[in-house]
């Protein structure tokens, strides 16, 4: 049961990254992809009906994590106090920038929110990557299962105490940002036509080069900082299929980009994200929050909710997820196709 919930939470977070990932990426690239008001609005319209729902996966994933692993929730949220609150502020700024931009038709107003949208999206992508980096590197949990990390100390992942931001976690942040730039550019390419489409493809192509470099660097750094990450693969070799999915996605992105097949390129960047995240999660299992001192690590067993709680949760969670998937399929189908501005709502 604990393993089931581990997979369930991982799945929800992966879905969050896949879905909100493209609108975060869109936020980062929109200043470069869109050259005039018309194009800006097209990009916003492409994510307008869906970004809020995408973000719900973060809330729902967080909620599921809280109920399946209450100890993990308490420990990690208080331990990552400052970065989490900063993430909240960024989510607020970004949400407002998407929704409020269109309410006043003034170039200064629009430019201001465009800037906020860019800053919010970009920093969020970096913070999310850095958060994952922290999990992989391990945190200084005490024997009660709590820790508190400063934002930074001397930027080395090996010093004690280490900060939230060190060169390793920042590298992970940049990797996440680049991933979402490619992913977002692919989505915008799917949803748009003509010049906007061409520019998105070009951004995706350039960012891909950086992504390959960062993927290689990031992988090497990960095994250097946390050599134990290889253990899971040694113990359960079938896990190797996950990084292979990521590699296939990485190759697929550029192949389909060059062939101008946007939908397939978007699927390839999705595969890359799924592959990378599941590889990480697979390697971390059965830990949920690795500690610097391995004895204090939180695992699926010592952080779990009661058996009864997890069992009743299974019933409503399954119903809720089926409903959520139905909404998503319906909404994405209703708003499918290229965005054209004459379809604007109010």
């Amino acid at each position: 049961m604990d393993t089931f919930w581990f997979i369930a939470v991982a799945l929800m977070i992966t879905l969050y990254v896949l879905l909100d990932g493209f609108d975060l990426g869109a936020g980062t690239i929109h200043l470069f992809a869109a050259k005039n008001e018309q194009e800006r609005r097209t990009i916003l319209r492409a994510i307008g009906p869906v970004w809020d729902g995408n973000e719900v996966w973060l809330i729902a994933g967080g909620g599921t994590l809280f109920f399946a692993f209450p100890i993990l929730y308490a420990s990690s949220f208080s331990g990552f106090y400052l970065p989490l609150i900063i993430v909240l502020w960024l989510l607020i700024i970004r949400g407002l920038s998407i929704e409020l931009r269109g309410h006043i038709n003034d170039p200064l107003w629009a430019s201001f929110w465009d800037g906020m949208f860019f800053i919010g999206s970009t920093l969020l992508a970096i913070f999310f990557g850095a958060a994952l980096g922290n999990v992989v590197r391990g945190v200084p949990l005490d024997e009660d299962g709590y820790f508190f990390q400063p934002l930074w100390t001397d930027f080395s992942p090996f010093s004690e105490p280490s900060g939230i931001l060190d060169w390793y976690t920042v590298l992970m942040g940049l990797l996440a940002l680049t991933t979402l730039v490619v992913h977002g550019a692919n989505y915008i390419a799917v949803k748009t036509e003509n010049r906007l489409n061409a520019r998105s493809r070009r951004i995706s192509r350039f960012a891909w080069v950086a992504l390959v470099v960062l993927t290689v660097l990031g992988t090497i750094a990960t095994f250097w900082v946390s050599p134990w990450m290889l253990e899971s693969f040694g113990a359960r070799p079938y896990g190797y299929v996950l990084p292979l999915v990521a590699v296939a996605g990485l190759i697929g992105m550029i192949v389909f980009n060059v062939r101008e097949r946007d939908r397939e390129a978007f699927l390839a960047s999705s595969a890359y994200i799924v592959g990378m995240l599941t590889s990480t999660v697979f390697a971390v299992y059965p830990r949920v929050l690795p500690a610097v001192n391995p004895e204090n690590s939180l695992t699926i067993t010592n952080a779990a909710a009661s058996d009864y709680g997890q069992a009743v949760g299974l019933i409503w969670w399954s119903i809720g997820m089926v409903l959520a998937v139905v909404y998503f399929v319906v909404i994405y189908r209703l708003f499918r196709g290229k965005v054209r501005l004459e379809d604007e709502g109010y």
Binding site: G62, F67, P70, L88, I92, S306, L334, D343, G345, Y346
Partner: protein, 452 residues
């Protein structure tokens, strides 16, 4: 300000109070928008459709503010109240996670559809999405109230050998007896809020001679909904709420009522200032024996005063609790008076031309926000000094390793962000109201096509 507990309490109180200003309006408006849209669907009077669309815009902006200020609350359980989350997570995380699974997904899907889909998908689906938005926001309210009801009145758990607790009866938590009166009372408060805002804006339009035909619709719908919901707040929901406080949290009741000494003929205090040193009410205006009669009927009965309880179980801010409760009840009484008078005038056909009444309705707009806030302050201050009543004290729930300096940093940050957001909200509202329901203004590229 020196300890993390105080600052964390301030931060949660500030962020949750600020947040709830928005949902109390959206939950109320969601119902009224559904009513407007349904009236349109029956009679095909286009005024009602435009009215629904106009309130949809107000709803949309308010909803966004509610969403972005709501996310920090779910996070803060973990960031600032880690010990509480670890202790009660097996239970309260069920209802919080269910809110995500059942309410948020539904809301996000149908709010998008409601705002973007009218022209594309037609009137029937638009009406249906207004219904689903209403149900989604009210489901959200249910899960939050259920979570709070558990903190007020913990049920469905068992205590383990190591002193921790775990869930052992899921339905007991979902159907917590405390929840029913609280939910009914809270949602009624949201309708009061929506109704006063709608009627007040209608009064403004009629008074200023702009969009008069819409102003009259807003007045009619707002006043009818306002009269019904204001009464609903007193009876049955308010009555049962105070009964269950009297039964389960007698010390909170004594503090709310400013009742210090145990008495068989306890007075009902209308006005006065609690003096915590002398343990009495200064400048009192009371109904002699009123509290006993209110709680036990004409025969009366003994009502335990604060002195009858150990001081360590007293709510830790009794004067504020007392004022919150009295502000809520006092305003609620005025609401009933205002709305019934307005409803009578509406019935007689005087309302649209009787300017003093319109002025009252217009100026009343802020007060439901104050009353709802005071109501929540009453519930939450009355729960003190407990986080989970009788199970865990507030002082035990705070995150063990987060320092007060860090919390103060984030509290100041929230204050700054929320100040700017408040200004933005006002600017946007003033603009929307200025454009009015006919607003073919520049940002709505094709409202004109929407009527098709």
């Amino acid at each position: 300000m020196e300890d993390a507990l105080t600052v964390s309490r301030l931060q949660f109180a500030f962020t949750v109070t600020y947040h709830y200003l928005f949902p109390m309006l959206t939950m109320g408006l969601a119902l009224l928008i559904f009513v407007l849209k349904s009236v349109y669907m029956r009679g095909r009077n286009d005024l009602y459709n435009r009215a629904a669309r106009f309130w949809g815009k107000i709803f949309a902006v308010t909803f966004v503010f509610g969403v972005v200020t709501g996310i920090p609350l779910e996070f803060q359980f973990g960031t600032n109240w880690a010990a509480f989350s670890a202790f009660t997570g097996d239970i309260i995380a069920q209802t919080l996670a269910m809110e995500g699974a059942f309410a948020f997904f539904l809301e996000s899907a149908f709010v998008g559809l409601f705002l973007f889909g009218e022209r594309r998908f037609g009137q029937r689906l638009h009406w249906f999405s207004s219904l689903m938005v209403f149900l989604g926001t009210w489901a959200s309210g249910y899960f939050i109230i259920t979570t709070n009801a558990w903190m007020q009145n913990p049920v469905g758990y068992r205590v383990l050998e190591n002193g921790n607790i775990e869930l052992n009866d899921y339905w007991a938590v979902l159907l917590n007896p405390w929840m029913f009166a609280q939910y009914a009372h809270n949602m009624g408060g949201a309708v009061v809020c929506g109704a006063f805002v709608m009627a007040g804006l209608g009064a403004f339009y009629v008074l200023s001679g702009r969009h008069v035909e819409y102003g009259r619709i807003f007045l009619k719908v707002g006043v009818i909904a306002g009269a019904l919901s204001s009464l609903w707040m007193l009876f049955p929901t308010g009555h049962f709420s105070s009964d269950q406080v009297a039964e389960h949290q007698p010390v909170a009741l004594a503090a709310m009522e400013g009742h210090f000494q145990t008495d068989r003929e306890a007075d009902l205090v209308f006005i006065g200032q609690p003096d915590m040193e002398k343990m009495e009410i200064d400048n009192p205006i009371v109904l002699p024996g009123g509290l006993s009669i209110l709680l036990y009927g004409p025969a009366g009965g003994e009502v335990k005063g604060l002195e009858g309880f150990p001081e360590k179980n007293w709510p830790d801010n009794i004067p504020l609790l007392y004022y919150s409760y009295h502000v809520m009840v006092g305003l609620g009484t005025f609401f009933i008076g205002i709305m019934f008078l307005a409803a009578f005038m509406l019935w007689r056909g005087w309302l649209y031309t009787f300017r003093p009444m319109l002025w009252v309705l217009m100026l009343a707009i802020p007060f439901p926000f104050i009353a709802n806030t005071a109501g929540w302050l009453t519930a939450e201050l009355g729960r003190q000094p407990w986080l989970a009543y009788g199970l865990m004290r507030t002082s035990e729930g705070v995150s063990p390793l987060v320092s007060s300096g860090n919390v103060l940093f984030t509290l100041i940050g929230f204050a700054g962000v929320y100040l700017i957001m408040g200004l933005l909200y006002i600017v946007l509202m003033v603009r929307e109201v200025g454009h009015g329901p006919e607003g073919e203004h520049e940002t709505l590229e094709n409202t004109e096509n929407l009527t098709a």
